[in-house]
Symmetry: C3
Subunit: 116 residues, 3 copies
Amino acid sequence: MPITRHEPSAILSDVVEANGFVFTAGVVADDATLDAKGQTEQILKEVDRLLGLCGTDKSRIVSATIWVTDIRNREKLNEAWSAWTGGKNLPARACVEAKLADPRLLVEIAVIAAKG
Amino acid sequence: MPITRHEPSAILSDVVEANGFVFTAGVVADDATLDAKGQTEQILKEVDRLLGLCGTDKSRIVSATIWVTDIRNREKLNEAWSAWTGGKNLPARACVEAKLADPRLLVEIAVIAAKG
Amino acid sequence: MPITRHEPSAILSDVVEANGFVFTAGVVADDATLDAKGQTEQILKEVDRLLGLCGTDKSRIVSATIWVTDIRNREKLNEAWSAWTGGKNLPARACVEAKLADPRLLVEIAVIAAKG
């Protein structure tokens, strides 16, 4: 069973395919000056792109893990999240608080999707 | 390959089936006034219910991620956990500290199970 | 579809196989007096061993979740990580800050791999 790794950097691949599943890395915003909603919008756009590299899309996400640096940002996160999901094909999700690699980053999201 | 999503709320599905696996959301206690042991008991009862919706059960859990708001509650968590597992069919598990959505919540658990 | 559980302790199995995937527990260092680099080296050696029990190896890891107790230790972690991966077959990865079961533990790593 082959494994396909997309966009390897020095330490990780952005997204990996194996056995009918797709695993993204923890995605953070490019622009760390945005607020939690803006960062989430950037992240979800990048998740779309990564899933597209694997021939799947957000309608096939099965599980999402979300880290926020301040749990009070959950509401802003959810605004961007709900606009993105449109309330359809909702994955299982866990959202907890954690500090991230850069103190300006407010949100990080990793997803597991089924292949298309 | 179909994906089955159970009990979608506004932002997530409680449990999702795909490709022979079942993914639960991060489950928290209904009654946030309970102590860590009581909350864990409620969570594990809910995990049983969610797995049942997918035709599988706790004997087929492969991986569990547990967040506790105070790592010192790990012992109380483990009391409820061990009573529930009965020491059988134990999944891989990671347990770390994280703040959760409501400050009264002490424990959150997400599991991945194989279908029955 | 059978599930194979290796090295069950009182509360968890060190590594579990199901449906073509392998799930490790959150692995921590045996020697909690080591620095973050030393602890990571021990962890990754143990990950090698656990994957070996399942007939797979680090070249087939699809996803890694890493918790560090101080995100500033990310650099030391990455030194050990990069020496271990050799920059090849890189998994998707998320690395966030979290307190762990013992205050002297600095790093915990859980991985999902495809079977060999």
